[in-house]
Amino acid sequence: MIESALVELVTNYPGSVSIYVQDDPSFPKAIESKVDDTSLEFSYKNNIEIVPTLICSIESKETDRTIGWDKSEWRKLTNLPSLGKDLDDFKPGCGSKTQEPGIEEQLAARFDAGLLSSRSIQLADLEDEIESCYERGWSDGLPVVPPSTVRVIRMLRGTDRSPSEIIGNIPPDNVPCSIEKVAINAVLAGCKAEYFPVVLASVEAALQDKFCMHGLLCTTYFSGPVMIVNGPVIKQIGLNSGINALGQGTRANATIGRALQLLIRNVGGGKPGGIDRAVMGSPGKYTFCFAEDESDENWNTLAQDRGFNRGDSVISLFAGEGLQPIVDQKSREPDSLAKNMAASLRAVVNTKLYGAADAVLVVCPEHRRVFRNAGWKKEDLKTALYDNLMSSGSDIITGAKGIAEGMPKKFENKIISKFRDDGLHITSTGSKAGMFSAIISGWVASGEKGSQLVSKRF
């Protein structure tokens, strides 16, 4: 439509007008000298969003631009008062090809040389991408997504933070780690860009001194980071807080937990058999991330327990492992159910070791309903649990009940609590049917001597 105006422009300013064409290099036919921008390099570097765009520049420095066809604007910018006199006054133009889905990251990979700084590795012709990642030691044992430049740039679009920003030192090697390295490992793990803020928050939580990520990685014990997510982000990115929330099948749950593990492996250098000295480990060390069921507004979420609001998106990290089920299909009174839960909680780590490990009690919705129907709030449950988790030292000291393992003799005449203050956390998740709650047992080095639950808002 604007071809005649372009001809007028070139005629009036011979040698001073460059016409860049994104799709058909023969357009406009009436003009000899055009610049073929089918590679989109010029368009990308000049942030063209709409075609046509008219840019005025003096000595290669842009002074003004107008987008689409707005006759009066074009006349003003070109100083040609009769430009396009036969054309409509206004046409909005079309979207630039640089704005098509999936193109932007490819253009950034080709034309934004300074964007990324990680070493690039070019594969040989016959190398299989996924096998190559295995051979280089980047995998936890499961296939990883090959971290191509385009995929990494796409991941980085999930945050406003600069790729070069250092998020912290990753244990065990304490290596400074950039946002870009986190993005590469999030790609390996299979994350979508929209999960990336959660991954970044999980890294920042893991790096809090209270969490003791270094020790958790090195320990001979079973534990690894367990992630519990609260807030609006759950629905925004599709984290599972319902059926099989702690199991397989949800991409966000599976890959967010995995990303932190891979980061610690690849950037931190924490590998099994190397610094990771776990006797057996546990399946949760591949990934262990789930969301809380926040559907009951009168039942405080874990994030609220940690001082945040319901509107906050928060990730909490707990050093834990495995699941110990609590079956209770008969209790209809809160006292009975709390006593049953307490009885199971005594088995955390060892029935005769108290104060050693923290725990997370995961209350299923049907059990939560038993408490709620009786008017209990979470604080009432916690109080009842602590009340039911006291033991006389004589029952649990070393040698008691014919078992050498147990608490030191000095506790013989004392009454001891199974969990330290702030050592028993309660969250809620799972499907609406089934009276099965669970315990996530903590690292045997819980508390100030080791790891404490940490939370990070994002």
């Binding site: 990680s118 971290p147 490992n185 250098g269």
Partner: protein, 93 residues
């Protein structure tokens, strides 16, 4: 070269090239496999190598590929990796 480029997810403390396995400090009390790839005179050559290795205190186990034309069967690779600390392959004529 392939057009596939990947970005290094590690701290880049090690070179990008794949690394050879750690070398043995000494041959004493180690088991060294000698793999004959089935080319002519391989046996005689490896007999000499075996004699020399024995003087260095190594134990020696002998293996043979069914044919030099193909890579060693997986079972043979696994057997050597289980039974030996190192392997020397009698390559070429």
């Amino acid at each position: 070269m392939s057009s596939t480029i990947m970005l290094d997810p590690t701290a880049e403390l090690a070179p990008a090239e794949r690394q050879i396995l750690p070398r043995l400090d000494s041959l004493k009390d180690t088991t060294v496999g000698l793999l004959d790839i089935s080319k002519p005179r391989g046996k005689e050559f490896l007999d000499e190598v075996e004699e020399y290795l024995l003087t260095l205190g190594a134990k020696v186990k002998r293996y043979r590929k069914p044919t030099f034309a193909r890579v060693a069967p997986k079972e043979l690779n696994q057997q050597i990796s289980v039974e030996c600390d190192a392997v020397i392959e009698g390559l070429a004529d």
